[in-house]
């Protein structure tokens, strides 16, 4: 992966998203993978195609054109409105762990030259949970897209609403959905990409409101948790329940797109919906050709 997005502000903070060591074990096929090889392959297992979770910064790095990102609201964070036991400590730990101020990074950048507002939820920050600040940043991103007549691209990875903020978290569903509604009314495109996992309140708001909804292979996508459902219906659910492929089959999402094809697919959609493009088109930030096991036949926007 590239490192152009490491902002100096955060560089003093340690990133602990991946444990140290030369080798990583794939949780699906159990194969040991040389870590550098895994990173070169966008953290997709070269053996079985399993998509490892990315941090928000990693997602931005592989999605945007190099040096094109201008972050907005970088410092914005939640407070502890309910004086909820242990919450300030959890927030602080998440900030130190990720080097970010909240569970979403938002800003403006280009994808294959197409200008867009982009937001990426970080599952490594308190499970990507949506409290006041995440809701506010998503709403502001949506408003910025509308004001600047740009598309909005959201990458979601979240366990849902942040319960430490109680009903204020629930209200973020209304805040974000209302903001996205205004973007729709104004006629600008909104692409929603669901990554592993996207559940609860984030699915029940902006993530399911995209003009086009994409998902990464194998991503868990659903409203209620598997255990709660199994307790309710009193039988076991099939293994593929609530996967991206399951949702595609049930007609809930538009496409399942591999990580290596995601950037070009989003770029193609932005092009289709008439997003403004900068000239000259910047160099792609994506460094690696996918490993042979992951390459797919057929064209993608990047090939054209």
């Amino acid at each position: 992966m590239l490192n152009w997005l490491r902002r100096p502000k955060y560089s003093s903070l340690q990133r602990r998203d991946m444990p140290a060591g030369l080798w990583a074990k794939c949780p699906r096929c159990n194969n040991l993978i040389y870590r550098k090889e895994l990173e070169r392959n966008l953290k997709v297992c070269p053996k079985c195609g399993f998509h490892h979770r990315l941090t928000a910064l990693e997602r931005l790095e592989i999605t945007l054109d190099q040096d094109s990102f201008e972050e907005i609201d970088a410092e914005l964070t939640s407070t502890d409105p309910l004086k909820f036991e242990g919450y300030p400590q959890k927030l602080q730990e998440a900030k130190e762990k990720t080097g970010g101020a909240e569970a979403v990074i938002t800003g403006e950048g280009t994808i294959d030259g197409y200008r867009t507002v982009i937001g990426v939820l970080d599952f490594h920050f308190m499970g990507g949970s949506m409290g006041s600040a995440v809701g506010e940043k998503v709403a502001r991103a949506s408003e910025q897209a509308r004001d600047r007549q740009l598309p909005l691209v959201m990458f979601s990875a979240s366990g849902g609403a942040r319960m430490q903020e109680g009903a204020l978290s629930l209200m973020q569903l209304a805040k974000t959905s209302a903001a996205v509604g205004r973007l729709h009314d104004a006629g600008f495109p909104y692409i929603s990409v669901m990554c592993d996992p996207t559940t609860g309140g984030v699915t029940a708001s902006f993530a399911f409101l995209g003009d086009v909804i994409l998902a990464e292979p194998g991503a868990l996508i659903g409203f209620a948790g598997r255990r709660v459902i199994e307790q309710t219906i009193r039988h076991k659910l099939p293994d593929d329940f609530q996967t991206a492929e399951f949702c595609l089959n049930k007609g809930l999402i538009d496409l399942v797109v591999t990580r290596s094809d995601m950037r070009s697919t989003v770029a193609r959609l932005l092009s289709f919906f008439g997003a403004p493009r900068v000239e000259p088109v910047p160099v792609a930030a994506e460094p690696a050709t996918p490993e042979p096991a992951q390459s797919r036949s057929g064209s993608s926007a990047a090939d054209e």
């Binding site: 319960m163 009903a167 204020l168 409203f223 459902i229």
Partner: protein, 322 residues
């Protein structure tokens, strides 16, 4: 009669139950034996009233959760029967089926046409099984949206009654897009071009409640609750101990008073002493008088101004620092 309440109120509730039982026994005795027990009964009633005061003057959040879930609390059908005339229930989402957990109806409030939607909890086990305990499937939310669109077309106000443990967490609900249905309703209600009054009467269970609860005015009965997660669920996740629900209930700030302080709720509607189940008609009257106060003013504002105001309201909720 008060339900058996766990938590710190248990002893007082049991005392009250015993006293009320004793009063009832003496009354029956007096009637059957034709003897005067007036003095004894009066003494017991005074004691019962003292205990009641202790319990209800300052109920704990967990106690309020029990009141909000009380099996004898007035249900949607009670509110509808008492508040509205010319009620025509509408069925189905036109896509899959009719969901009995969600009610949608055309009605008149003191002559004025309105559209009513609401979670349809039952009074007893039989009704609750038929109505899935007021937990809608996606088709329930889609039915509600369809009928709210009808209200929009004719510029009639929508009155949405909230009383649900949550959206139904089942495999078929997921397959048919529970999350999408909720998200869609929230988005569409945020820009519905007619006025929307939300009345939280019982349980406001998370996204399943919010899916019919985005509007211009949010009213909440005094002992209703509104929360992002059930206290039991919160305790199970945070402390791996569902029995700590009483603590979670306090931490979540889910009472009407809390929510008013957080500006999520505009007005708290008083309930009869001890809770709506003690005098359902009084609770319904409380809702009626609020509707009488607010409904005439609704729809006076130009639509665009109303939508701006609605947007600003939800836009402002939350606490952040930069």
């Amino acid at each position: 009669m008060a339900a058996t309440l766990p938590g710190p109120s248990t002893d007082l509730d049991r005392q009250l139950q015993d006293l009320e039982g004793e009063i009832e026994r003496l009354r029956r005795l007096a009637r059957e034996q034709a003897i005067d027990l007036g003095g004894e009964i009066a003494t017991l009633e005074t004691r019962a009233e003292d205990v009641r005061k202790k319990i209800y003057t300052n109920p704990s959040p967990w106690h309020i959760v029990q009141l909000a879930r009380h099996s004898q609390r007035p249900r949607l059908v009670d509110f509808v029967a008492s508040l509205f005339t010319d009620v025509v229930e509408l069925h189905g989402d036109r896509l899959f089926r009719d969901d009995p957990a969600m009610l949608a109806a055309l009605a008149r409030f003191e002559g004025r046409p309105v559209v009513v939607v609401g979670h349809n909890k039952g009074k007893d086990t039989k009704e609750n099984i038929a109505r899935n305990f007021g937990m809608p499937y996606p088709e329930g939310y889609r039915k509600a949206l369809r009928v709210m669109r009808l209200a929009e077309k004719f510029h009639y106000p929508v009155i949405a009654f909230v009383d649900t443990p949550g959206a139904f967490p089942g495999d078929e609900a997921e397959e048919r897009g529970q999350a999408e249905a909720i998200a869609r309703n929230i988005e569409e209600m945020s820009r519905l071009r007619t006025s929307v009054i939300v009345v939280i009467t019982g349980e406001g269970g998370s996204g399943g409640a919010l899916a019919i609860a985005v509007g211009d005015l949010t009213l909440m009965l005094q002992y209703a609750i509104y929360t992002v997660i059930s206290p039991e669920g919160c305790a199970a996740i945070l402390w791996h101990d569902a029995t700590k629900a009483a603590e979670a209930a306090a931490a979540l700030r889910l009472t009407a008073k809390d929510l008013q302080a957080l500006k999520i709720v505009d007005e708290v509607l008083p309930e009869p002493f001890g809770g709506a189940h003690r005098d359902p008609e009084a609770a319904i009257t409380s809702v009626r008088s609020a509707l009488q106060r607010h409904l005439p003013g609704m729809g006076q504002m130009p639509v665009q101004a109303m939508l701006e105001r609605r947007y600003a309201k939800y836009r402002s909720l939350g606490q952040i620092v930069a």
